[in-house]
């Protein structure tokens, strides 16, 4: 008998896909995540009644650097509203997260898979809900002064994905995540100068202040400041209904971003003080 039982995820890597999602693991983790969400982030999540009973593409604004605490809060709320046995939620993430030791395995058991061509379409065809953050690291590392701005950087792949798979977009906006660390500037120029965009697909390298790292170029997983997190799930958007079979992608992009920006600004207006909520 082993003297020390190592966590199973230290023994073998969790598969990167729907097969890697572990409902029992999620069930075991939910109380811990709930405690963090409720006591530390005083989280409020509203609007799940807007989600139709069919596969959808959740489109969120991405905050909190590499720690993305609002993603965990959303995941918790989803799995308690729809239950662990309900329609699976699969989030697409940068490989810098899914391929990290320990954190990557944890994420994959929670239903996070590496974003890649065709991956989301496969998942939607399997009947699951897919969560994407079109802004990626550019949005997650936007300056703190822009924390209440949707910053998708002109990326329209999510629209084409939803349209091609005939699924509705369900926008999700969140505040508070970008107050769990401080970001002083837009780091895209530095990332480009150092070649991070080509070598690591990291497109933003701003100066940040976080715990325990202090000042740092870019963002490493950090201990988040206890900012109050608010999340709002919005009514679904049917691109076929609104923009037809051959959409003007620029118009569709402007519309979806505008809807999300209005909702994000309204959510931000609920805040009395930054961080405190």
């Amino acid at each position: 008998m082993a003297l020390v039982k190592l966590p199973s995820f230290l023994g073998q890597r969790t598969p990167d896909g729907l097969e890697g999602r572990d409902p029992e693991f999620i069930r075991r983790m939910l109380p811990r995540v709930w405690l963090a969400a409720q006591l530390y982030f005083r989280a409020e999540v509203e609007g799940f009644e807007n989600v139709p009973d069919e596969p959808v593409l959740f489109v969120g604004n991405h905050s909190g650097g590499a720690s993305i605490p609002d993603s965990f809060v959303f995941n918790l709320a989803y799995h308690t509203y729809f239950t662990v046995e309900g329609r699976p939620l699969i989030g697409l993430a940068h490989e810098i997260i899914t391929k990290s030791p320990i954190i990557g395995d944890f994420a994959r058991k929670f239903g996070i898979v590496t974003a890649g061509p065709g991956k989301a379409s496969e998942l939607l065809a399997e009947g699951v809900n897919v969560l994407v953050y079109p802004g990626g690291d550019v949005e997650a590392l936007r300056a703190t002064r822009d924390r209440h701005t949707i910053m998708f950087d002109g990326r329209k792949g999510f629209l084409k994905l939803a349209h091609a798979n005939r699924v509705k977009i369900v926008p999700v906006v969140a505040t508070g995540g970008q107050e769990t660390l401080f970001i002083f500037n837009d780091g895209r120029a530095l990332a480009k100068t150092l070649g991070f965009d080509r070598l690591l697909r990291v497109k933003s390298l701003p100066i940040t202040f976080s715990l325990p790292w202090g000042f740092l170029p870019g963002g490493l997983p950090n201990i988040p400041f206890p900012a109050k997190i608010r999340i709002q799930v919005l009514p679904p958007i049917d691109l076929h209904d609104l923009f037809g079979d051959e959409p003007d992608w620029d118009k569709a992009y402007d519309f979806v971003v505008s809807v999300m920006q209005v909702a994000l600004s309204k959510l931000a207006a609920k805040q009395t003080m930054p961080v405190l909520g």
Partner: protein
């Protein structure tokens, strides 16, 4: 004393089209007042006159009875005659082919030291509410108008 906040937004529509909405209190108040409550009281045919306008902020309701006026062809303004003492002005400017809409809001709270503290805290709240109002106005003009 008091505190003033000014915020602007670019709306991708011609200035005349935007001004027609911004200077009509019956259209603009439901749009930018979506975060609180408002009620038309004693007004003329164009909606100018007395309104009740409140923002709901946590445990308090900021606002009161206001007199809505149109100081210029591309301006709408109001000042409080009851409740929280404040003034608000909406102004429309051409911005190339687009339009810049600006909201300036001033607030005076009672009290000496704590009144100043509350005004400082209120600045951030005013900024976020005005930003939300401007975003709703922009979306209304660009996509729902």
């Amino acid at each position: 004393m008091g505190t003033t906040v000014q915020r602007s937004i670019i709306v991708r529509r011609p200035a005349d089209e935007v001004a027609a909405i911004v200077t009509d209190p019956r259209v603009v108040l439901p749009v930018i007042g979506g975060l609180g409550r408002f009620q038309e009281l004693t007004t003329d045919a164009e909606g100018l006159g007395e309104w009740d306008v409140f923002l709901d902020i946590g445990s308090v309701h900021v606002g009161g009875r206001v007199v809505v006026e149109r100081p210029g062809p591309r301006q709408l303004a109001w000042h409080a005659i009851r409740g929280t003492r404040h003034q608000l002005e909406l102004t429309v400017h051409e911005h190339g082919a687009d339009t810049q809409v600006t909201i300036a809001m001033s607030l005076q709270l009672a009290g000496l030291v704590l009144g100043r503290v509350a005004e400082t805290l209120a600045r951030g709240i005013m900024v976020r509410h005005i930003d939300a109002g401007l975003q709703q106005l922009r979306h209304h003009v660009e996509f729902e108008g």
